[in-house]
Amino acid sequence: MAKPLNRREQKLEADGLSIGYFEAGNGDPVIVFPDEEGDFTDPVLSKIAESHRIISLSLPGVYLATADQVAEKLPHALTRLGLEQCSVIGISTGARPALALAIAAPERVDRLILLSPLLPSDGDEFPDLAGVKTPTLVLVGTRDTSEAIAGGRLCREKIRDCHLSFIYGASHPLAGDRPEACQDAIVQFLEQGEQFIIFRESQVIRR
């Protein structure tokens, strides 16, 4: 059981974009784009915060901006935060700014993780998924919305180095339904990247 999350509320101005955020934990930095309700269950964040520094961007600033504005301004914001490189998590509609950042500043993003990604439907705003060069993990629930599952499949198809995993029995937003399954996959991917597919738990029953 992870410890309760100790949030450190902050505010940041970057090129006219006002972003509220909170920090938690210590370690390699992870930027989180929650969904528009800011919904990401604490147990999952708490688990990640045990080994990572979480910077969870709050609302509405990021979502009022277009993906282009995010792509243009967020790298500056990261510099202001002293972050050269970070991993990025986007949840539901938070997948849009997460993808925009990964496409605009691939050198700044180590790993990209999308949970139940809801991608924009219109052509102009649609992210150039083939432009994502970052190792990517997409999690969708087996009872997720058809849009999120379709978004996950599209990412798997278009992003060069993308892994799609189904969280069995989870609906949208999936982290609340099966937090342990989500946090295990997320933490292992943050730590091991593409190698998280290698199973290294001992299979010895008794020595």
């Binding site: 999690l139 499949r153 198809e157 892994h163 995993s165 189904f166 069995y168 029995g169 295990d184 597919i197």
Partner: protein, 348 residues
């Protein structure tokens, strides 16, 4: 009405013990080989007689059914039978790696050019002991396994599975099934609590070895649950597995099956205290059967099938075995059913 032939692949040698597990020392190697040849001959006969499908099942550690791997026997059938469907009713998921099951069934579907039908099961209570699964979790394991298999058959790209009981980081099944999107899948409704799962997932309902009143009750429940999920099952969505015996006359049929009862103790043949623990709250319908479910001359059996149809069953999966019946009597019963009953029940 679909008429399926359930090939139990029962041991052809003398049964020296009814215990479960049956000690391997009682298995004569020559008789085991003879069993397989005899069963394949029966399969060919069923195909020739016009049965719609030939089914095999998975059971372990006894002479009752010599197909602990139904896939292997089904593979043999694909190479010999070119008309009838092959119903694998079915793989026991708590005893299996579901991805492997998805791969093997896909192979069979390709080998048979799309003639596979499948039912995924938890296994009889004793069989949970075979590969050391937890009996208290067998239903949940089976349901997760079914969802994983369906996903493995339909996802266009490789995927991972973060399950409660199964965890895979890379699933990408080749070959794809011949049938699109996948073979017909049934799910067990013997335990009423399992019926909502079948209905919610648009799966067929499989029932076995229970009285007509219980079939009716379960089909009604299935329809109610399917309506909640926004669809309406028909009789073609329901399969019933049972023992049957047909002879020239009602009297001949009764005489052939005699007064041999089939009861649970005999069927499972294991320590009653352990068996009670394994069964838990699962309703066991086969605790006692006085005679095969369908039994009689052709006219009587046609009526009995009509009653099944009225109860909502559209697929018969019939075993012609019964304790005391000779192999020849079983073959005659098959022939009688095919020539005198099947033509009468086709339009039901």
């Amino acid at each position: 009405m679909i008429a399926g032939f359930f090939n139990t692949v029962g041991y052809a040698g003398p049964w020296a013990s009814n215990a479960w597990p049956t000690p391997p020392v009682f298995c004569d190697r020559e008789a085991a080989s003879r069993t397989m040849h005899r069963a394949m001959d029966q399969v060919l006969l069923a195909d020739e007689l016009g049965f719609d499908w030939i089914s095999v099942s998975e059971h372990h550690y006894s002479p009752r059914i010599l197909t602990p791997s139904p896939m292997i026997f089904a593979a043999g059938i694909t190479q010999r039978v070119k008309r009838a469907k092959i119903a694998i009713l079915g793989p026991l998921l708590p005893l299996s790696n579901p991805v492997r099951v998805a791969e093997e069934l896909a192979m069979l579907d390709v080998m048979s050019e799309g003639r596979i039908v499948v039912l995924f099961l938890r296994g009889t209570p004793n069989e949970i002991l075979v590969y050391r699964a937890n009996p208290d979790e067998s239903r949940e394991i089976t349901q997760e396994g079914i969802e994983l298999i369906l996903r493995a058959w339909t996802e266009p790209q490789p995927f991972g599975w973060e399950g409660r009981y199964f965890n895979y980081r890379m699933v990408s099944v080749w070959p794809r099934t011949f049938q699109e999107p996948h073979p017909r899948v049934f799910s067990s409704g013997n335990t009423p609590d399992s019926i909502p799962f079948a209905a919610r997932n648009h799966l067929g309902l499989a029932l076995s070895f229970m009285p007509l009143s219980e079939i009716q009750h379960r089909v009604e429940l299935y329809k109610t649950e399917a309506a909640k999920a926004g669809w309406q099952p028909t009789a073609s969505d329901v399969v019933y597995r049972f023992f049957g015996h047909v002879a020239e006359t009602d009297e001949d049929a009764r005489k052939n099956v005699g007064d041999v009862r089939l009861d649970l103790g005999q069927f499972f043949g294991m320590n009653p205290a352990v068996l009670k623990q394994l069964i838990g709250d699962r309703p066991m319908h086969i605790h006692s059967m006085e005679r095969p479910f369908l039994c009689g001359g052709p006219a009587a059996v046609v009526d009995q099938v009509g009653a099944l149809r009225e109860a909502g069953v559209g697929n018969l999966d019939m075993a012609f075995t019964w304790p005391g019946l000779s192999h020849e009597q079983q073959l005659r019963s098959m022939e009688c059913f095919a020539s005198r009953v099947i033509p009468q029940i086709r339009a039901l």
